[in-house]
């Protein structure tokens, strides 16, 4: 395992060299091509920790999140939960209910025809918990997320932030060991974002799940997570502790992300993020040769165009994938 920090008891959730390709077709009769959305990613999530994953839109974060909870099967590599290969999500999976998700879009993540209570209780139904018990626990969980007594309402009667609270309640009701949060606050107003983030933090303290926290916003990831992975075009390019990353990232892409972070003051006014980098994210259909970041990298040198950089261990728990690191 390249550079992974071996914990004595072993990681709770581990991805080992996981790749995922999609077949895409241009036009009706175009040739089928392979789009590699996630390329040989390895990561560990320990019990109770929250691991951040940050990167631009389209770099493969959501695909990685879905791989990590069994909603997608890896094309190669392995996803392990407590050392056992994670089966695809489904009714007879031994892992059902142990990994849950919170999605970005609070409008599509709740079934419009199910009351909040029914949505929150359903994972229990899937586990065969008796009805009265389901209801009691759903109400209790709704109260925990600050929606006391609103269980009979339907999703359209809630605001975006409230819907996200329902999604959190639904994710936590089975007391999962891992919750994958895929940009849980990106669709919310800045003021509501903070509330939902605090809720997620409180929930972690109370119920103790590990989070894989995905966001394109480094500030949000920095608020939530001690350990952060930076992703670029399907690959992890840097892994570091939060303090380390904010004090001085090793990879030029991480540095660019940091530089584009607005200061705390201007964020609160709800200002739009400036574009983080020059140029566009290249298509994952034909990634640049050598270092994938070289067309946009201000520090690129000759070797960057020819050879993909290998992992470099900079300190325990800090590694980067750059020739110059």
């Amino acid at each position: 395992m390249p550079g992974g920090v071996a914990k004595p008891e072993g990681p709770l959730l581990a991805l080992k060299d996981v790749s995922r390709a999609f077949g895409v077709r241009r036009g009706w009769l175009g040739e089928q091509r392979r789009l590699i959305a996630v390329d040989r990613v390895s990561l560990d999530v320990s019990a109770g920790e929250s691991l951040g994953l940050v990167g631009e839109s389209g770099c493969g974060k959501s695909t990685l999140g879905r791989l990590a909870c069994g909603l997608l099967a890896p094309s190669s590599g392995q996803v392990l939960l407590e050392g056992r290969a994670l089966p695809l999500a489904g009714a007879r999976s031994w892992a059902a209910g142990r990994i849950q998700m919170v999605f970005q879009d609070p409008f599509s993540s709740l079934n419009p025809r199910m009351s909040a209570r029914a949505a929150v209780a359903e994972p229990l139904a899937a586990q065969g918990v008796p009805r009265a018990e389901q209801r009691r626990r759903a109400e209790e969980m709704l109260a925990t997320v600050g929606l006391d007594g609103l269980g009979g309402r339907y999703p359209h009667e809630f605001s975006g932030g409230q819907r996200q609270r329902i999604a959190v309640a639904r994710a936590l009701i089975t007391r999962p060991e891992v919750v994958i949060c895929d940009e849980p606050v990106s669709a919310l107003d800045a003021s509501v974002q903070a509330q939902v983030l605090n809720l997620l933090r409180d929930a972690q303290e109370r119920f103790g799940p590990a989070y894989l926290f995905i966001s394109h916003d480094l500030a949000v990831v920095g608020f939530m997570c001690r350990r952060i992975l930076v992703m670029y075009l399907g690959q992890i390019v840097e892994e570091a502790a939060r303090e380390q990353l904010f004090a001085g990232a090793a990879h030029p892409y991480s540095q660019a992300l940091l530089a584009s972070m607005p200061t705390g003051a201007s964020r609160k006014e709800g200002e739009l993020l400036p574009p983080p980098l020059e140029g566009e994210l290249p298509s994952p259909l034909n990634p640049p040769p050598g270092c994938r970041f070289h067309p946009r990298c201000p520090k690129a040198v000759g070797i960057c165009r020819r050879e993909p950089p290998a992992w470099k261990e900079l300190a325990p728990g800090w590694r980067a994938r750059c020739h110059l690191a």
Partner: protein, 345 residues
């Protein structure tokens, strides 16, 4: 669909809300209906030709005097607004008047005679269409781009492209003439009167099998495509993903999460197809020599049988409006978003 909610007090108040809404809608629709009759009455009378043509202009023995006598008989010599008023007041007593054709029988009787056949055929075809199209749509959506989905897509486009009269003739040739399994026209056999009730039913079924098949194939393509689209739209929502992450089986996901949401737009479509139930295709009814409403309306138009035309139009308009209300009510019962919007009003 979710079971109809009838029991709890909260739901009862919901029903009361819907009833109030329907009452308001009905009033509005009566107004619309009145407008429709007004306009169609004028337009029909403006069209060239007259119901007396068949018996006068085209009959060398009848002179001008005969024409005038007939016009007086039908009341056609009075000003149009008087005729309309007369027709409308009778309509309010559910009197559609007598047909202006030679038999001069009441319009309502003539329509009611033919209604069971047309409605029966259309309802059967619609039910068959739904029974086939919904599962097909679900299957091809949940296995998008699979061999099954592609096969269905090709068949659907064939179905769209195929004219119904051509299919009808093809089926008649194959099942009626080559195989001689089914009769090719008419509603009953010669010995119908002497058959047992079960025999009568079978005889009717054999006669109607081909026309119903043609109607069904006609509706199938569009309906299965529509169902597939609705289903795909629902399946790409995140709550389907979370349902999978919860550990629900694929069947439970389709049955509890996807289908109820995908069926909502189908309700509207069904409401809109209610007037089509009496529409009866002139072409199909003519090919199979079936005495349906389509033929009745067609001959009425050709003969300028004003009262008959108006009767058919009123029936069609009433069904259109009723279909709208029905779709509204069903939608209101099924969709929580609309339900609560009503409660607030």
């Amino acid at each position: 669909m979710s079971p109809l909610p009838f029991l709890t007090p909260r739901r009862r108040s919901r029903l009361a809300g819907i009833a109030l809404n329907v009452a308001g809608k009905t009033l509005w629709m009566l107004l619309v209906l009145w407008g429709i009759t007004l306009i169609s009455f004028w337009v029909i009378h403006l069209a060239p030709g007259s119901p007396t043509d068949l018996e006068t202009t085209l009959n060398p023995l009848a002179g001008e005097a005969a024409r005038q006598r007939l016009e007086a008989l039908y009341g056609l010599d009075r000003p149009l607004y008087v005729q309309y008023w007369d027709w409308l007041t009778r309509l309010l007593h559910f009197d559609f008047g007598n047909s202006m054709s030679a038999d001069a029988r009441p319009v309502l009787t003539k329509i009611l005679e033919r209604l069971p056949l047309t409605v029966g055929m259309n309802v059967t075809a619609l039910v068959l269409t739904l029974l086939i199209a919904i599962p097909v749509g679900i299957l091809s959506a949940s296995r998008q781009n699979s061999l099954l989905d592609r096969t269905v897509t090709v068949l659907v486009f064939l179905g769209f492209a195929m004219p119904s009269f051509w299919l009808a003739l093809l089926l008649m040739m194959f099942f009626g003439i080559d195989l001689q399994w089914l009769p090719i026209s008419g509603l009953t056999s010669m010995d119908y009167a002497s058959l047992s009730p079960w025999g009568k039913f079978c005889d009717l079924a054999r006669h109607l099998a081909l026309p119903i098949l043609v109607y069904t194939v006609g509706g199938l393509a569009g309906m299965s495509r529509y169902m597939r689209a609705c289903m795909l739209e629902v399946l790409r929502q995140d709550y389907i993903l979370t349902a999978r992450a919860k550990g629900l089986s694929p069947g439970a996901i389709i049955w509890r999460h996807a289908l109820p949401n995908a069926l909502l737009p189908v309700i509207t479509l069904l409401g809109l197809s209610v007037p089509g139930l009496i529409g009866g295709s002139v072409i199909i009814e003519s090919i199979f020599a079936l005495p349906g409403l389509g033929q009745l309306f067609y001959t009425a138009v050709m003969a300028r049988d004003y009262t008959m035309i108006m009767g058919n139009l009123v029936l069609g308009a009433v069904l259109t409006l009723a279909g709208n209300v029905l779709a509204d009510v069903c939608y209101g019962l099924a969709d929580p978003r609309i339900r609560s919007a009503r409660e607030k009003n």
